[in-house]
Symmetry: C2
Subunit: 293 residues, 2 copies
C-alpha cells in the first residue's frame, strides 16, 4: 500500500509541472469574490449530448448575433438531433452537421452573411501586454479570447483550443451554423477573420478531443459507420432546470482575472526555473466552475 502510494506520488511529481501550475492559479481563484464570477446565461448556452457525455458551449452573440440567433433556432427545431460528427482532423478541428445533406431546415436559415469581425466600439477589452504573432492587440472580452485592430476599429474572436466556429464553403456568406467545428489542436489563428466564430466549449472538451481521427482527406470519416452520433443538441433554457449544469465563468474585467493573467505570465511555482514574463492569448484559461453553494 505504502509502496503503491509512493509510486503514485513519484509519478505525480515527475510531471511537466501542471500540478504546481494548477495550484498557483487555484490560489488566485480560491481568493476570488462571488462578484468575480457570472453565471452562464441559459438562453445562450447549448448542450451537445453525446453517448460519452455532455459538451457545453457558451455562444457569443456580441460577436456573431445573426449566427448565434440562427444556431439557437436550429437547435430549437431539433436540427442537429441524430446528426453526427463527420470529421476529426488531428491538431485541427472536429466538425459536425448534416453529412448526407438530407436534413430539412424548418425555421432557421441555411446561410447568412459573414460575421468575421465587428466594431470594437463599446466592447469590453482586457488587453494583454505581450506581443501576438497575428494581431496588433489581443485580450479578453466577457470571457472570450479576442483580437483588436485600432487602425480600423474592429475586433474579432480568436481561434483557440475549444473555440467553436461555423463551417462554410468558398463563398464568405455560405456559412450559417448548420455545420459547426471545434478547435482540438494548436490554435489555427490564420483562420481568424475567415470564419464566423460563435462561441467556445466551457465543459467537455475532453470528449471531443479524443474522437478517432478520420482517415479521409481533411480528417473526414471515410464511412458513415465511423461517424460519431449526436443524441441531441439543446438550448439550456429549453432543458428542465433540474437537468441543467449550473456553471459560472470568471469575469475577465476584474482584478482577479488580471491576477490570473499575471500568474500565467510569471509562474511563481518552485518547479519553474525560468519565468516567461509573457503569455500568449490562448494560454490563459478563463475559469469555469460550479457555483459555490
Amino acid at each position: 500500500m505504502n509502496r503503491l502510494y509512493l509510486a503514485a506520488v513519484s509519478a505525480l511529481l515527475a510531471t511537466v509541472s501542471s500540478l504546481a501550475d494548477a495550484a498557483a492559479m487555484a490560489d488566485v481563484l480560491a481568493a476570488s469574490k462571488p462578484s468575480d464570477w457570472r453565471p452562464l446565461d441559459p438562453a445562450r448556452t447549448v448542450y451537445l449530448e453525446l453517448s460519452s457525455g455532455r459538451v457545453i458551449i457558451e455562444l457569443a452573440p456580441q460577436f456573431a448575433p445573426n449566427h448565434v440567433a440562427n444556431i439557437l433556432a436550429l437547435v430549437h427545431e431539433g436540427y442537429f438531433d441524430g446528426l453526427a460528427f463527420m470529421r476529426s482532423q488531428d491538431n485541427y478541428v472536429v466538425q459536425w452537421g448534416d453529412a448526407d445533406g438530407k436534413r430539412a431546415i424548418r425555421t432557421a436559415k441555411k446561410t447568412l452573411p459573414a460575421e468575421f469581425a465587428r466594431s470594437a466600439a463599446g466592447l469590453p477589452f482586457t488587453q494583454l501586454p505581450d506581443p501576438d504573432s497575428y494581431a496588433p492587440q489581443v485580450g479578453y472580452s466577457d470571457g472570450f479570447a479576442v483580437a483588436r485592430d485600432s487602425a480600423n476599429g474592429t475586433a474579432w474572436l480568436t481561434h483557440c483550443y475549444g473555440t467553436v466556429g461555423a463551417g462554410r464553403d468558398n463563398d464568405a456568406d455560405s456559412g450559417g451554423g448548420t455545420e459547426l467545428y471545434v478547435v482540438i489542436g494548436h490554435s489555427p489563428r490564420h483562420l481568424d477573420r475567415n470564419v464566423t466564430l460563435v462561441g467556445r466549449v466551457v465543459q467537455g472538451m475532453e470528449l471531443l478531443s479524443v474522437l478517432p481521427r478520420g482517415t479521409g482527406a481533411a480528417g473526414f470519416y471515410e464511412t458513415a459507420q465511423e461517424r460519431v452520433p449526436i443524441r441531441a443538441m439543446r438550448v439550456a433554457a429549453d432543458v428542465p432546470e433540474s437537468e441543467r449544469v449550473p456553471l459560472e465563468v470568471l469575469r475577465t474585467d476584474t482584478p482577479t482575472f488580471a491576477a490570473v493573467v499575471e500568474a500565467r505570465r510569471n509562474r511563481s511555482e518552485e518547479w519553474f526555473k525560468y519565468k516567461a514574463g509573457r503569455v500568449e492569448v490562448c494560454n490563459v484559461p478563463v475559469a469555469v466552475r460550479r457555483p459555490k453553494s
Copy 2:
C-alpha cells in the same frame, strides 16, 4: 451513388478549408527537388510501438546531446518495453514511463544535468519575420521549431504540438529521459527553457492525441488498468531494415522551405478572404514523407 458522392463532396467543401490549405503547400512540396529533403537518421530515430500502431520520434542531439544519448541507451536496454502511458491531460501532454517505480536501469543514467538551452553559435537558423509571444526570435533549425535570444547568445527548442520532452521533478537536474511526454494541445510555451526537450514526433501523433484523458489530477490515470501499454521502444538502427519506415524530412534551410513558410503566412487559396500576412512558429508544419522511389 451519385447522391452519396455529392453529399461527400458537399461535406468536404463545407470545411474549415484544410483541403485548399493542404493543396497550396502541396504545390510547393510537389515542386521540391530531391535535395530539399534529408533522410531520417536511423541512429537518432526511435519507434514507440503501441497496440494501435507505431509512433516515430526524431531526436535532437544538437539541442540535448546528453539526454538524447541517455534515451538511446534506455531504449537500447529495453527500459521502456512493457511500461505504459500513465498520463493524458487534455490540451497539454501525454506522458509515459515507469509509473510503479520498479524498473531497473542497467546501462543508462537515471538523471542528468538539465539541457534547457544551448549556445546559438554554429546553429543553423531560418528565422521567421513575425513577432512571437514568448521569444525575441523564432525559426527553424534542421527541422525543429526553435527560439533564439541574441542578447545572451542562446537557442532552445520550443514546445509545439508533437514536441517530445523529458519530465522532471522540482530539481532542474532531476530529469534524464526515463519519463517522456509529448505535447497534444495548444503549445505550452511557458515550459520553454524549463524542460529538456529532446525531439519531435514525425509520424503517429494521431495515435497519441486520442489517448483517453486521465481523470486524476494533471490527467494521470487513476488505476493501473487505464494505462496504455508500450509494447516496445526501439532505435530504428536496431530494427531490421525491412521493418523500418523510410522517411525524409524537409530541409528547413532551403528556398523550398521558405516558400512553405510564405504559403502559410499568406494563404493564396480562394477560400481565404483575409490573409494573415504572418505565421506563428508552431503553425508551419515541417513536412515528412516517404522517399520517392
